[in-house]
Subunit: 181 residues, 6 copies
Amino acid sequence: MEKKRGLLIGRMQPVHNGHIQVIKETLKDVDEIIIGIGSAQLSHTLKDPFTAGERVMMLTQALSENSIKHRHYYIIPMEDIQLNAVWPAHVKMMTPPFSKVFTGNPLVDRLFREEGYDVTRPPLFNREELSGTEVRYRMLHDENWESLVPQATVDIVSEVDGIQRLKDLSKKEVSDLKKRE
Amino acid sequence: MEKKRGLLIGRMQPVHNGHIQVIKETLKDVDEIIIGIGSAQLSHTLKDPFTAGERVMMLTQALSENSIKHRHYYIIPMEDIQLNAVWPAHVKMMTPPFSKVFTGNPLVDRLFREEGYDVTRPPLFNREELSGTEVRYRMLHDENWESLVPQATVDIVSEVDGIQRLKDLSKKEVSDLKKRE
Amino acid sequence: MEKKRGLLIGRMQPVHNGHIQVIKETLKDVDEIIIGIGSAQLSHTLKDPFTAGERVMMLTQALSENSIKHRHYYIIPMEDIQLNAVWPAHVKMMTPPFSKVFTGNPLVDRLFREEGYDVTRPPLFNREELSGTEVRYRMLHDENWESLVPQATVDIVSEVDGIQRLKDLSKKEVSDLKKRE
Amino acid sequence: MEKKRGLLIGRMQPVHNGHIQVIKETLKDVDEIIIGIGSAQLSHTLKDPFTAGERVMMLTQALSENSIKHRHYYIIPMEDIQLNAVWPAHVKMMTPPFSKVFTGNPLVDRLFREEGYDVTRPPLFNREELSGTEVRYRMLHDENWESLVPQATVDIVSEVDGIQRLKDLSKKEVSDLKKRE
Amino acid sequence: MEKKRGLLIGRMQPVHNGHIQVIKETLKDVDEIIIGIGSAQLSHTLKDPFTAGERVMMLTQALSENSIKHRHYYIIPMEDIQLNAVWPAHVKMMTPPFSKVFTGNPLVDRLFREEGYDVTRPPLFNREELSGTEVRYRMLHDENWESLVPQATVDIVSEVDGIQRLKDLSKKEVSDLKKRE
Amino acid sequence: MEKKRGLLIGRMQPVHNGHIQVIKETLKDVDEIIIGIGSAQLSHTLKDPFTAGERVMMLTQALSENSIKHRHYYIIPMEDIQLNAVWPAHVKMMTPPFSKVFTGNPLVDRLFREEGYDVTRPPLFNREELSGTEVRYRMLHDENWESLVPQATVDIVSEVDGIQRLKDLSKKEVSDLKKRE
């Protein structure tokens, strides 16, 4: 019998507990989940501080930590392309075949729906706290971010000096103290 | 005797009556008009909902509907390029030779003027209502947009499920209900 | 009743009588034909001497010369992209919807077949003589190429100084008289 | 104690037994191996018939089939970039940190060596038969290719109709029966 | 003895007295300075009005005007790339080897620091007035900008009709008088 | 009185005595020469072993060594673009204004001629020996290449370990000992 595969895409800046919960939840619905790490080309900005490689490592270790069997998922970094109408074809090229898409993003929803896919909104868990925005905010302001993420994220952020990276990137450029613009 | 050709560029998101009126008007001045469909690579956003192919089809049928003779125009989709200084050369590569440019856009005006072209501002008709922004606003808010566009646009928007596409794209992403950013 | 549209792609370097015959033939099978001018980004080489704009102009005038009604075709320049698996989606973005593909190219055939399209090999007419290769060869060697192409091609090649362009491009670079490589 | 990670890159068109043997061998030397699937953007050619997604799936299943523990490897598709001098930085962006590179390719060897990496040539097993070239040759000529690859490759080639894809791509274009070039 | 080289990057829209002062200052610290002209691909916008070539010419003449010996500097136009993590490698490819980076930009600072470079903030001189923003503001409002720039900038802005270019680009598009957006 | 500027483009892999002689010769004809270092994006191949930065450094030092006054030349790295018809516009964007082009390349000749430039073939000196191909051949085969290049090239090839780079790149990949292809 052929396996039922689903697609789930997120920027994972960084990987947090909400991602792990959603992955567990979708695995109740499909045999295998393809996890696309979105905006793979971005890093070293306040909104996208971590490289694709760092995020692949966070997610791989976090899934292992959560005893999710490897035969149940694929992790694929995905670069943005500028052509919305071509994006689903690009995703298909980079992934094993899938029949279902899990997304809360209206553009992704619409694009795959136009291609005939079954699209579902995944459940969100404690969205107030479990968001990349919240985690990055806490990292920058020395608040407790560690409780929102798996141990793997804590370890790798430390290994790549992530907190300092974020703080450095938040500094104002001297020349931004301009008189007018 | 050599033909006098003019260039006119617009995003045509979607094709509306103002485009048809401007094309008719410019054809009083030149023998043939090259109509560039701008930002051809964009689609599926609130500002640029339709694909290049959909826009080519709208315009081709609308001109036919308006009895504009085909031997008088060329329709060419044009992708944006990031290099302003190179853009006129790119346009020239994609089009038959032309000597006149019709544009109300200051950048396009300046770029072609620096290349030695004769640049004219085309007349605008009832600009309050005849703009892509107004048409898209009405589409999204169930107001009367059909009166602003040729029948071809009505037909093709219907064929490609365009109103629903626009409404779907206007939905908020759940994760945008964030505490902070 | 919805129109049946077909897709036909060729580099048209330059437009010759074989293209016109194939277009006429396919129009017996579909209501409208979308003619993609392939490798639109290429020009000024021995194999691809003419720009996309020059080829659009040749084809538009040649179809008019042959009394093919404009409401039956679309002409769309198409740049190559490097990703085969994404190419059909790119073509779809740039064109009106179509259900049938006419091609003699095994890659194009396979790619559209994998996307579920009905693919047919178009008839070829007097392939010995009616090929772009043959036309370019004759242009370069001052043989009779004019009999192989529509009048529009003769006119435009003359307008853009095409024979001299081809001959200039065929010159050897002095530095190619190298001792070794 | 920090983990020792190595990098190994191959096009894997398709994954064959030589790949599996090399991965097993390198895992004697490092704790974790990052396996880059090279030329990820290519597919549907005689030399590169399979998509990145198909190759990721082949390799993931083949490693599982061979009981290689998932905590020991990462699989990352890698698109070619045209700038050799920038390529190692691109690889680093897409991968977890690594200190050792396994490669038999002189360019990859030189590029990483210039960046200060420890580069080793991996062992090759029965190179006469265990090469992608040989496997693709046998696929095309109905010889026994199945014995050269893991069961996962056999299964996925069948699932994606790979043999027929290869045979279709090997057909001559009619227009290639040209008189001269 | 090997030379000590430093890197300094600026958009130089246009070259002003602050740039010259900083270059002089950094030359007290290194033997040779590599001056990268950033965002080389941009021109003809209000923020980036001048082409890379125009900026190269301004800077070359201004340094000569200031009697800075040519054997002490290199001027290299540098296009932006979208991948932060790869950018230092791109800069290295385009420049002679260097060991020190002068920058007030937090991203550039962080990126080169992660690659192990010695990064220093260059001194800023009279930052209130000596900024590209201030110079462009004055150009547009017919205030005294000439006192803020070297004679070379005055000459070249005049040669390329720069003030009029800036004023033309600042015009509103008629279609921007829209009712809603 | 306005300066007369000329353009000269070469890959300079590496800079040799022929380049220096041609530059000296063209400077008899124009006030300033813009020297484009072509294929700037390429490096680490047998045909293009050196990076743009290395070539800029070679040329800058070689011109200084030859007492060519810096106020007489500009050195600009130029990446290849794939669109011939757009290439002259790209060159113009990256360079100070020029009115004359020196080239022995038929394509460059034709492209600039179509844009209305005065194009001249530069003199070639002892072309048998003074070619990049010859220099690279001798580097690879331990013959006397040093006599064909300026001292700057000898120094920089040594500084960047260029001979070994070339020899490493010339090695066969083990997997190229394939049975069939």
